[in-house]
């Protein structure tokens, strides 16, 4: 049953993608904030159908921590769920992502229309410079920047190595850093189609003031808050 519901959910997601991608290309002449408001309805639809079809809901805590000024979101990465939810919780945003994602037919074109900071992960130092340069430009336009510091999705209970790009961008710009923790991996596991019914918790942490702090310190503070918070979130036992 869980598998069948999950397949129906993905059918809806694919259909919505076919609607939204041409829309995204059509809207390109409009300002980013306007396009984001329209395109994030794709995420809103998917999270609604996730609840309606798979019984998977979510709650957000700490929304009062979101500053008015555009900042850098450093978010735990366990599944694709958080890439959807962040769009509904935070203002207009771009994502730092590996450029290979833009090569996926249709879906990648939609992504590309939303001004992502696409990096070549194999490029090392050059990738970090891409994050700082691209991030700086977006932040100057009042657009939030989403970074998954672990670089890739990590299974629940695990911790990836926190990469320095987000901290470097923050130290360089002095923009506020907002750490985000959640437990999506228990409900939306990697490498599985199945969506477990339940309720994901997303916790938004207090702003880390990046002014006068080194990149290393910013990354370390974010990591400490994210990992200690993730450890406190509900960890449902795997289904029998």
């Amino acid at each position: 049953m869980v598998l069948l519901r999950s397949l129906v959910f993905y059918l809806g997601l694919a259909t919505a993608t076919l609607v939204f991608v041409p829309l995204g290309l059509l809207l390109l002449p409009l300002p980013f904030a306007t396009r984001f408001r329209v395109m994030s309805r794709w995420s809103a639809f998917n999270l609604w159908s996730l609840k309606a079809i798979c019984g998977l809901d979510y709650q957000v805590t700490g929304i009062e921590n979101i500053p008015r000024q555009a900042g850098i979101i450093l978010c735990k990465h366990q599944s694709a769920w958080e890439t959807l939810a962040l769009q509904l919780v935070f203002p207009a945003q771009v994502w730092v992502l590996k450029r290979e994602l833009l090569w996926i037919p249709i879906y990648g074109w939609g992504l590309a229309s939303m001004a992502p900071i696409a990096i070549d992960r194999a490029a090392g130092m050059r990738a970090l410079r891409q994050i700082v340069a691209g991030g700086k430009e977006r932040l100057a336009r009042g657009i939030w920047v989403v970074i998954f510091p672990e670089g890739t999705r990590v299974a629940p209970g695990k911790r990836g190595r926190y990469q320095p790009g987000g901290g470097m961008l923050a130290a360089e710009t002095g923009c506020p850093v907002v750490p985000v923790a959640h437990n999506s991996g228990y409900f939306w596991p990697r490498n599985s189609l199945r969506k477990r019914p339940g309720r994901i918790t997303m916790a938004i942490g207090p702003v880390i003031d990046s002014r006068g702090r080194s990149a290393e310190e910013i990354t370390r503070l974010a990591e400490e808050w994210i990992e200690s918070t993730v450890a406190q979130l509900p960890a449902p036992a795997p289904p029998a």
Binding site: T61, E64, T201
Partner: protein, 184 residues
């Protein structure tokens, strides 16, 4: 809308004349965390709205306050409770800001950010300023005798029609029994 707004000092934790300035100084009132846990598990959303003039007076900073709240949330999670948001005013009375209770600024901010209406929402506090802020936005104030509450009762200053309970546990019991009566 099932939402409850709580004051912090004197309602959830022991108040201090010289401000709660560190994690160590934050001590839950007996039964308060259990009460919040029951409220949450009964389907209520819970938000804290608190004056923290100690920040303006240099007794603590926003980072220490965040650490104190982290402790509160960690202890609360042991009782199966979740606080959705904590809104605080960092100003002193002489700053004449819009957010310090009895001003309704923080409640308005809460309403805007969480996209909820406050009409009729229970607001539990231990001071007249909590009651006045709640009344200003059309919410339903509730006074507890913990913290400064007993002194207000003794002085005969409780505004007409504001219910008074011994502590957060009793106030939560009342909310839950009214809630279940209303849904019957």
């Amino acid at each position: 809308m099932k939402l409850v707004v709580l004051d912090r000092d004197g309602v959830i934790n022991v108040d201090s004349r010289d401000y709660v300035k560190s994690e160590q100084e934050w001590q839950a009132l007996p039964g308060s965390l259990d009460a919040i846990g029951r409220l949450y598990r009964s389907g209520y959303r819970i938000v804290v709205v608190t004056n923290q003039a100690g920040i303006a007076h240099g007794k603590l900073n926003a980072e220490i306050l965040a650490a104190i709240h982290q402790k509160m949330l960690a202890h609360l999670s042991q009782y199966g409770g979740v606080i959705e948001a904590i809104f605080f005013c960092p100003h002193a009375p002489e700053d004449h800001c819009n957010c310090r209770k009895p001003k309704p600024g923080l409640l308005r901010e809460l309403s805007r950010r969480l996209r909820v209406r406050l009409h009729g929402v229970p607001c539990i506090g231990d001071k007249l300023s909590d009651i006045e802020a709640a009344l200003a936005v059309g919410a339903s104030p509730i006074l507890v005798r913990t913290g400064h509450g007993q002194a207000i009762v003794d002085a005969g200053e409780v505004p007409h029609g504001v219910p008074v309970y011994a502590n957060l546990r009793a106030a939560v019991d009342a909310i839950l029994s009214q809630g279940s009566a209303a849904s019957r």
